[in-house]
């Protein structure tokens, strides 16, 4: 009798355990809403819900570009040679896909976002490309690396070496892209429009860079 009771109890416990596993797994079906990381969390590129992964992107070449970008960013290896070989002569569709990637990263993901700006900046051609750069330079200033919406620490001290630059990294990369573009397209109105937008932005470093470029054209 005692053994029977024990056996029943074990079966019941096992069943409860398996039930708990099953329901937990079911609840992991990702939502379609973007996930906003909490401040001070260890930052990873925003997780893309499974349902919205690469299958949503139109063509295999576009999916490949995005996948390569994700691999490089995950590796944190900025010297991956594919940055120089796999993102040249990008189609409009590819650039749109990269811009979607940009928007999915939280604002604190400075290197991730800046890398996308760098890649778009290598392929400036259409008005849409310059519109993207305009949107970048007009972003609200990021106030701290932990949480762009809150200031944290004094940027002037020795230990904040390079932080001010990183906070405006996307914007600075955009200006650098325009600087390079204008060596072969001087006085290009599309580029100048972006520079003027940057001049009037609240991103201090990028604003000054843009002003210097407008005042002293490279050619």
């Amino acid at each position: 009798m005692k053994n029977l009771s024990l056996a029943v109890l074990m079966i019941a416990l096992s069943g409860a355990f398996l039930w708990g596993l099953w329901t937990r797994k079911s609840s992991r079906i990702p939502s379609s809403a973007p996930i906003k990381p909490t401040p001070n969390a260890i930052l990873q590129p925003r997780q893309i819900p499974a349902a919205q992964k690469l299958t949503q992107l139109a063509t295999p070449p576009v999916r490949q570009k995005v996948e390569i970008l994700r691999q490089i960013l995950k590796s944190k290896n900025d010297n991956d040679p594919r940055l120089d070989t796999e993102f040249n002569h990008l189609s409009s569709e590819s650039k749109q896909a990269l811009e979607r990637e940009y928007s999915k990263f939280p604002p604190e993901a400075k290197n991730e976002r800046g890398t996308v700006v760098f890649l778009i900046g290598k392929n400036l051609a259409t008005q849409e490309d310059f519109d993207f750069l305009t949107s970048v330079v007009k972003e609200n200033p990021c106030l701290s690396l932990a949480d762009c919406s809150h200031k944290d620490g004094d940027l002037s001290s020795h230990d904040n070496n390079g932080v001010a630059v990183t906070l405006e990294y996307s914007q600075i990369v955009a200006i650098k892209a325009l600087e390079k573009y204008m060596t072969t397209h001087p006085n290009d109105s599309k580029a100048l429009d972006v520079l003027h937008a940057a001049e009037h932005s609240n991103n201090h470093i990028a604003s000054h860079m843009a002003h210097a470029l407008v005042s002293n054209p490279v050619l």
Partner: protein
């Protein structure tokens, strides 16, 4: 007599070779690699090893004169030797500042580099992380007084005596111990390293070279002595 002479010459030659070999061994045996404290998280260890490994692969065919003075060639071997001969240990510390990535605390251990959790928490470009690491490694040099920083001037003026309008420096840095008056200190050496990578690295991606230039310009803004500024401009920007 001839045999003795020849024998003596043989002994002297091999003795000389042995002496040279011994001295070489002595010299190389003083180059040390760093070790991690046990409390440094594995992901931070992995990241800095990866970053230093990247730096260790850099190649070029030339370098500026100031770079030659401080590091030698623009090469992974030179950078690895520079770091490995200065940093014996890597530990975990908050460095007393919420934004700090790394620091050296000379009075505690002049050869130890401290990394913070920000090393992997914050999304810096890889070059920016290495800039901080090599900047801090310069501070390990006790024979140069750890290359202390100079107070930034107040007001912060340019070489012509006009208020600094550079985007990189300005009033916020005035009076802070966050400037250098020599090209050879931590800001100067990291400027020189990054600008040389930007200009001369032959196996770096365009992004790395761009980033090196961006952060070099930032570091250059911390040099406040007119002579040092001119020397570095002549060396790096012409």
């Amino acid at each position: 007599m001839i045999c003795l002479f020849l024998g003596g010459n043989f002994i002297m030659k091999n003795g000389l070779i042995s002496l040279v070999a011994f001295l070489a061994l002595l010299t190389t045996s003083t180059g040390f690699a760093y070790t991690f404290d046990s409390d440094v998280p594995a992901n931070i260890q992995d990241q800095i090893k990866q970053d230093l490994s990247f730096i260790g692969t850099i190649q070029s065919t030339t370098q500026s004169n100031l770079h030659k003075t401080i590091f030698g060639a623009v090469s992974g071997d030179a950078y690895s030797k520079f770091f490995d001969s200065r940093v014996t240990g890597i530990g975990l510390n908050d460095c007393g500042n919420g934004n700090a990535v790394a620091c050296v605390i000379p009075f505690e251990d002049p050869s130890k580099m401290w990394l913070t959790n920000n090393y992997i928490k914050f999304s810096h470009p890889q070059v920016a992380r290495m800039m901080v690491v090599f900047h801090e490694s310069r501070h390990t040099e006790s024979d140069h007084g750890n290359w202390p920083h100079a107070n930034c001037p107040d007001p912060f003026l340019d070489a012509n005596g006009s208020p600094m309008k550079s985007i990189w420096t300005g009033a916020p840095l005035a009076s802070e111990p966050a400037c250098d008056e020599t090209p050879l200190g931590s800001y100067g050496s990291s400027t020189i390293m990054l600008k040389n990578i930007s200009k001369f690295c032959t196996n770096c991606t365009d992004k790395v070279k761009m980033d090196a230039g961006i952060y070099a310009d930032d570091q250059m803004g911390r040099i406040t002595d007119a002579g040092a500024i001119q020397q570095m401009r002549d060396d790096l920007y012409k």
